[in-house]
Amino acid sequence: MSDHLALIIEDDEDLSEIFGQALTAAGFTIEIIRDGLLAQERLKEIVPTVITLDMHIPHISGDILLTQIRADDRLAKTRVVVTTADAQMGEATRGHADLVLIKPITFSQLRDLTARLKPQS
């Protein structure tokens, strides 16, 4: 079991499963949340190494959540990977995210990219 936590914020059941598998393969312990409000609450308790953040999630939009994460000192070391199908939206968040991935995102792509975000210990 790895001590690196990856939080997957993604409302689509299948994509969250695929992302989860990719991050597991990359060596992370994963947690999946499908709702913006729940994610907001959960982020007060945990400090993930990586967050994959979908822009279109229920209750709180991804970009608001991204701003909050960036404003939180506790999460200063957390790497955020924005996942979105909207290329324009992706471009808009590029300044705040560590990585922007435009859907479709493949298993191997996410696995290989996030593996690099893991601190070498």
């Binding site: 299948d14 994509l15 695929i18 393969a25 290329a87 859907k103 479709p104 493949t106 298993f107």
Partner: protein, 567 residues
């Protein structure tokens, strides 16, 4: 009143003239005779009358009566007869107007010249000679009757007077005839011209009416401005589109016309600009007029000599079309977006299976997973193309200018194309000309898309040989992306439409090679968004060369441009 008294209307203008002249003479002579009678009566009453005063009175009365009879005969008989009677009457009276000696040889000889001259104007010019003969006969007979010699010089004088009267009268008559013929011709010309004018006028009226009816029944709004930008023509459709009665538009200037609350200041500016320079403005410009969308075209009106005399503007209501376009774009956008998510899931699961995440797989199962991935990718490309096409059409696709490295661009291209080309047994060559700067400004994602689309297109139509992608500097201001293949080439007639959406050279190509025919269309639109241009050079059987020319912008330039903008 006098004119009514002396004028007699007849069909023969010569006769009318003769009758009128006779009436004038009768009237004049009548007045003189009347005065003479009155004077004589007063002299008789005043005992100062000379011998023969009674004779003058009776003669005068007889003359008056005679002239009255002739005056009436002149109205019913031909003028010539009345004139002959008149001349006979005065000649007869002259015989008794003095003593036989004075008439034939003395002081009254001259009075016979009067009927001679009158005859030349009242009758025919030659009749002066007849009265010359008659007068000569009268004075000769009178002279013989009182046993005197006929006065030969007087007779010669009469003939001389007759000759002069004949000559002048004949000239006068000829001049009159000429004048009349000129008049007649003139009348004819006037009549013809009047008829012509009436025909033309009625034809013009019919034509104008027809044109007006056509204009009135056109569904598009039409308005014509003169060279001072005042509306001189507008049809009812325009009134409907602009929400004002068509009559209220006429004689108003363009500024008045566009001063409606339904127009934004920007739209007003556009319209004024189009009026200023209709040719440069182009046609089918869309403007918002209240809640309507109108397609507008302006054109200059020129006379037959090519001189500009105004501007005609046509407005078409395209509200419905615009709504449909928006709906289509929204629909395709939603469908594409909704398709991408499940496709992403299929692609992801297939890959997880292949990678053995859910347990080990056989070679065959791995192979099948790869087939699922390849097909999902193809489908995803089509969906992405559709989405791009819609975004470009809707003007939503923006080009991001960031600094990018040509080496990275080609590396990324190779990562996508190496496997595809190798699978088909093709050689894939990429090269960078040393003239190209190591860093340049562009949208890496879109440049990548352009190169992938062109390369994919080349792979589709090349069965053996190679595909070469070359980046180079063209000149000071431009750089180029070239793809050269050894494929089947493009027929000449197809070069016109290969860049159109949903078009492929052969319909069969779609089935054979897949795709919906958007690849090149998107490339062209992206290139145009980047202010570049694309050309194709190809021969059937001789491969194709696609050349994209893009403006070369160095990272430094962008910074300085941004700096300038900030200032």
């Amino acid at each position: 009143m006098i004119d009514r008294l002396i004028s007699i209307s007849t069909t023969d203008p010569d006769d009318a003239r003769r009758k009128k002249l006779l009436n004038i003479l009768l009237l004049g002579l009548g007045v003189i005779t009347f005065i003479l009678i009155v004077v004589m009566i007063f002299s008789i009453l005043g005992q100062s009358a000379q011998e023969g005063a009674y004779l003058v009175v009776y003669g005068g009365i007889a003359l008056l009566l005679g002239m009255a009879v002739i005056f009436f005969l002149n109205r019913i008989l031909p003028g010539r007869i009345a004139a002959t009677l008149f001349l006979t009457l005065i000649t007869g009276i002259m015989i008794f107007s003095d003593s036989a000696h004075d008439v034939s040889n003395g002081r009254s000889l001259f009075i016979f010249t009067i009927p001679i001259i009158m005859a030349s104007v009242l009758l025919t010019p030659a009749s002066s000679f007849i009265f010359g003969i008659v007068s000569s006969a009268i004075i000769s007979v009178l002279a013989i009757s009182i046993k005197e010699e006929p006065n030969s010089p007087a007779i010669a004088g009469y003939f001389l007077v007759a000759l002069i009267a004949w000559l002048s009268s004949r000239n006068l008559e000829q001049a009159l005839l000429e004048l009349r013929s000129i008049n007649l011709n003139l009348d004819k010309v006037v009549e013809e011209k009047t008829k012509e004018l009436a025909t033309t006028l009625s034809r013009e009226l019919i034509l104008a009416g027809r044109n007006r009816a056509i204009l009135d029944s056109i569904a598009d709004g039409v308005i014509v401005f003169d060279e001072f930008n005042t509306a001189i023509l507008a049809n009812p459709a325009l009134g409907k589109l602009a929400d004002v009665p068509a009559q209220g538009i006429i004689n108003r200037t363009i500024t008045d016309f566009i001063q409606s609350d339904l127009l934004s200041p920007a739209t007003r500016g556009t319209l004024l600009g189009m009026l200023e320079n209709p040719q440069a403005a182009g046609s089918g410009i869309r403007i918002d007029w209240g809640n309507k969308t109108l397609s507008t075209s302006f054109a200059q009106v020129r006379d037959t000599e090519g001189k500009g005399i105004g501007t005609v503007a046509v407005f078409r209501d395209v509200t419905h079309e615009v709504e449909l376009e928006k709906m289509k774009n929204t629909f395709i956008g939603i469908v594409s977006h909704e398709l991408r998510t499940p496709l992403n899931a299929i692609l992801g699961y297939a890959e997880i299976l292949k990678e053995g995440v859910y347990g080990s797989v056989t070679e065959k199962q791995k192979n099948i997973s790869e087939r699922i991935m390849a097909n999902s990718s193809r489908l995803l490309h089509i969906v992405s193309d559709l989405l791009d096409e819609v975004q470009i059409e809707a003007g939503k696709l923006k080009i991001q200018m960031v600094s990018c490295n040509p080496v990275d661009l080609l590396d990324n291209l190779r990562s996508v194309m190496d496997k595809i080309t190798a699978d088909k047994g093709l050689e894939f060559i990429t090269e960078i000309d040393p003239s190209l700067p190591p860093v340049l400004m562009g949208d890496p994602q879109r440049l990548q898309q352009i190169m992938v689309n062109l390369s994919n297109n080349a792979v589709k139509f090349t069965d053996k040989g190679s595909i070469r992608v070359k980046l180079s500097r063209l000149d000071e201001q431009n750089w180029q992306i070239q793809t050269v293949d050894t494929g089947e080439g493009i027929p000449e007639e197809a070069k016109d439409y290969i860049f159109e959406s949903f078009r492929q050279v052969k319909a069969a190509a779609t089935r054979q090679h897949g795709g919906v025919g958007l690849g090149l269309s998107i490339v062209k639109q992206l290139v145009e968004l980047m202010k570049g241009k694309i050309t194709v050079d190809s021969k059937v059987g001789g491969g194709s060369i696609f050349t994209i020319t893009l403006p070369l912008i160095m990272p430094l330039e962008i910074e300085s441009i941004t700096e300038t903008e900030k200032e």
